[in-house]
Structures are given as structure tokens and as C-alpha cells.
Amino acid sequence: MGYQWNWGVFAQPSATGDDTYFGWMLAGFKMTIGLSLSAWVIALLLGALVGVLRTVPNRVLAGIATAYVELFRNIPLLVQLFIWYFVLPELLPASIGDVYKQSNPVLQQFLASMVCLGLFTSARVAEQVRSGINSLPRGQKNAGLALGFTLPQTYRFVMLPMAFRLVVPPLTSEFLNIFKNSAVCSTIGLLELAAQGRQLVDYTAQPYESFIAVTLAYILINVTVMTLMHKFEKRIAVPGYIGGK
């Protein structure tokens, strides 16, 4: 195989001259992390809310929550991204749409990606939260109500603290997924990690080095997430229960 390995490529000044190729990778790395973390905040908050609503006795609220989950869970992520980025700005009222379309293109890409990833993942988080709540012994809710707690108080003090502990492991998977799914956002031109890797290939013709670097960067991110979540899981473990001391 006549491939010329050249790990020194990362130290070379980039074609545009203002940075090294390592700098490009670093910028992509930061973009992936910034995008994924901000989308994760949306996913957690909305997912928790929708997941809780799916379990409440009020049928209208539960129905809205179910529709939300089915909508965002059943459309491919890539299609959702194109809708957010290409279609939705056209559907906005002209005055708002124009302001959006004239804003910084990177900002547009980032916002569309963040909202898209956040909502897509929130539907998945909602399902985990719902299953966590439903897996609690039924008597827990009754015990809370019997003590005089209102239904919201029963959720807040009795059911959710245990339900969230139960779903930390599956939520860790979703947290890992959001970093991996963020690579899809390269398709609308957002220069995150995967896009920088591809750009590096175009400019340097060193595909192995650049994709090995991208792979290692994703592994670094996800090993870090796994380690942190594992520590978190231990910290919130309930004594005398599974995972506790």
C-alpha cells in the first residue's frame, strides 16, 4: 500500500493560513461539545417534562405528550435537521424569517442543529423518564397521596427522585448518543468534529490520519462522559437498594 503516513500534518499551517490543521480539529472538537451539551440541556429539561406528562391522569396532557414523543421519535434525525434548517425559516412570518436568514450563517447552523438534536433526543429522554416512573411500585404514589401530598408534590418528593435514579443508566446512553448524532449536523455545513475531519482530507489528502484523529476525539468524549456518569450514578445510589452500599 503506497500510503504516505504523515502525522506531522496536524502541525502544518492550514491552507487558509490562519491556523494549523490541529487548530481545525480543535475547533471542530469544541463545536461538537458545545452543540451536544446545549442540545442535551434542552433534551433533559423537555424530556423530563414530557416524560412526566405522559404518566399523569389528565388525558389531554398525556395525549399531547404522547403525540410529541411519536412526532420526534418517528422522523429520521437527518430529515428533521433539514426541516429545521431549510424548511422552517421559510414558514416563519417574513419579518422574522428575514432577520434569521440575514444573521450569521454559523449561528443559523448552530441554532438549527441545537434545536433539532435537543428535541429529537428529548423524545427519547421522555420515554426513559416515563418508563422509570412506571417501573416504581404503584404503592409509592398512593403512599405519597395518603400522607396528604398533592399529586405534583407526590411527583416532586416521592416518585421523581427514585424514577430519575432508575433511569440514569439509560440516560447515559442517550447522552452518549447525542455526541455521536451531532455528526449528522455536518450535513448542513456546521463545522463540527466530523466535518473538520472531512475538510482536512480535502486539503491534505491524509484521510487515515484525519479520521483516526476524529475517531480518537469521539472516544475521548464518550469515555469521559461514561466515567462522569458512572461517578454520578454511584453518588446518588440509595443505600440498601440496587447499586447502593
Binding site: P137, G139, Q140, N142, A143, G144, L145, A146, L147, G148, F149, T150, Q153, F157, V158, P161, M162, R165, V238, P239, G240, Y241, G244
Partner: protein, 242 residues
């Protein structure tokens, strides 16, 4: 104190409760027994509104449970309930389990609530376990904590839903002892239980249910000496033959 008048409940075509009526006066101890599926647990859960019912009326301390305008949370805060599976909150220490509803529902101060909780914990003989979590206690200990947690709310009456059925046989008595003591102090109690020894010792009346209906509602002397219905006679013959 508790008046149950012509209460019926059905899931679809299935009648869980059929025209049940009885009363519990202040200070009375009522034992509700009957074969499984007879509706005893459902009946007791109707008393504090945990189970809705379609017709009839339940009045607790002058307040109608079935009335949609009733503030059920407020009513429940005065009606203690103990469950078959204890239902302590696993993520809280025993002390927090005892204090949280006092603070969040009754508005007591944290210190005051903890003091009161610890006194009751002492009463059920578990003071040394205050810092532990429910998962670190035995079933009997958890159930005693659950009784203390209900008592911490200063209930006007206590409902027990098969409090000893999930316990190992050797832990049954520690729970029954606490319940007996409570009965002797004059607490109004409605207990769904199969512990006939307990019924003999402390009950004022025994209610026997079968297929959703109250078949017998009599003083314990009359019930044990001479049950009127054939179904109750069979039931007693089966559980008292040891």
C-alpha cells in the same frame, strides 16, 4: 367518624364493591376480613379517596370523600394509612421519611417535625435506626416506621391495608404489638387483616366481606362464636383450624 353508605364500585362489568354500608365510631377498632378478591382493600382505599367509587357516600369526620369539591389532600393528611408493602420512601433516611410530610403538608418547622418523628420512632422501638435508609431495615422494622410516619401527622383515624401480609412470620408480632398498643390508646382504626388473633384481642367489630359485599358486620364475640353466613363459617373454619 367514618360512615360508609351504599358504596358501589365497578370496573366495566365487574362489581368490586356492592352496596357496602358500615360505620366506624370514634375510638372503635374494626377488622375487615374475607377471602382475597373480596374487595376489602378496595373498600379501605375508598375511605381516603385513593380509589374512586361510582355510587354511595363516604363521610370521614363530616367531610364527603366522593364530593369533587372536597380537598382530598387535606382530608388525607388527617387519615393515616399503612400499606401492605410499607411504601417508605427509599431515597430518604428514616428521619426524613418521618419528617417530610409534616413539613411539606402540615407546614411544621423542620426541627419540630424531626423531634416529633424521633419520638414516634422511639415509641415503635427503632430510635437507633433513625439515620438509616429503608432498604437497610427488615420488613417488620420498615412497617413500624411506616406506622410512626402515619402517626406523625396526628391522624384522627388510621387505615391499615393488610399490614402484616408481606412480612416474614417472625416479624408479624412486632407490628401487631404496635397496632395493639395503638388500639388500646383509643385510636380509631380500620384494619384489613387476616390476623384473627389480633381481631380477637383488640377489635370491637369484625366485618366479613365476600365478592364485593359486606356479608357480616358484627361484634367480634358474635362473629367468632357464631358467624351467621355460611361463607364466613367456611372462611373461619379454613383459617382457624391450626
Amino acid at each position: 367518624m367514618i360512615k360508609i353508605a351504599n358504596v358501589s364500585k365497578h370496573y366495566g362489568d365487574f362489581n368490586v364493591l356492592k352496596d357496602c354500608s358500615t360505620t366506624v365510631s370514634k375510638g372503635e377498632v374494626i377488622v375487615v376480613c374475607g377471602p382475597s378478591g373480596s374487595g376489602k382493600s378496595t373498600l379501605i382505599k375508598c375511605v381516603n379517596g385513593l380509589e374512586p367509587f361510582q355510587s354511595g357516600e363516604i363521610i370521614v369526620n363530616g367531610i364527603s370523600v366522593g364530593d369533587p369539591k372536597t380537598n382530598l389532600s387535606k382530608l388525607r393528611s388527617h387519615v393515616g394509612m399503612v400499606f401492605q408493602n410499607f411504601e417508605l420512601f427509599p431515597h430518604m433516611s428514616i428521619t426524613q421519611n418521618l419528617a417530610i410530610a409534616q413539613v411539606k403538608v402540615l407546614g411544621r418547622k423542620q426541627d419540630e417535625a424531626i423531634d416529633k418523628g424521633l419520638k414516634l420512632l422511639d415509641r415503635v422501638g427503632l430510635k437507633a435506626h433513625a439515620h438509616k435508609f429503608p432498604g437497610q431495615l427488615s420488613g417488620g422494622q420498615q412497617q413500624r416506621v411506616a406506622i410512626a410516619r402515619a402517626l406523625a401527622m396526628d391522624p384522627i383515624c388510621m387505615l391499615f391495608d393488610e399490614p402484616t401480609s408481606a412480612l416474614d412470620p417472625e416479624m408479624v408480632n412486632e407490628v401487631l404489638d404496635v397496632m395493639t398498643e395503638l388500639a388500646q390508646e383509643g385510636m380509631t382504626m380500620m384494619c384489613v387483616t387476616h390476623e384473627m388473633g389480633f381481631a380477637r384481642r383488640v377489635a370491637d367489630r369484625v366485618i366479613f366481606m365476600d365478592q364485593g359485599a359486606i356479608v357480616e358486620d358484627d361484634s367480634k364475640e358474635a362473629f367468632f362464636a357464631n358467624p351467621r353466613s355460611e361463607r364466613a363459617q367456611q372462611f373461619l373454619a379454613k383459617i382457624l383450624h391450626h
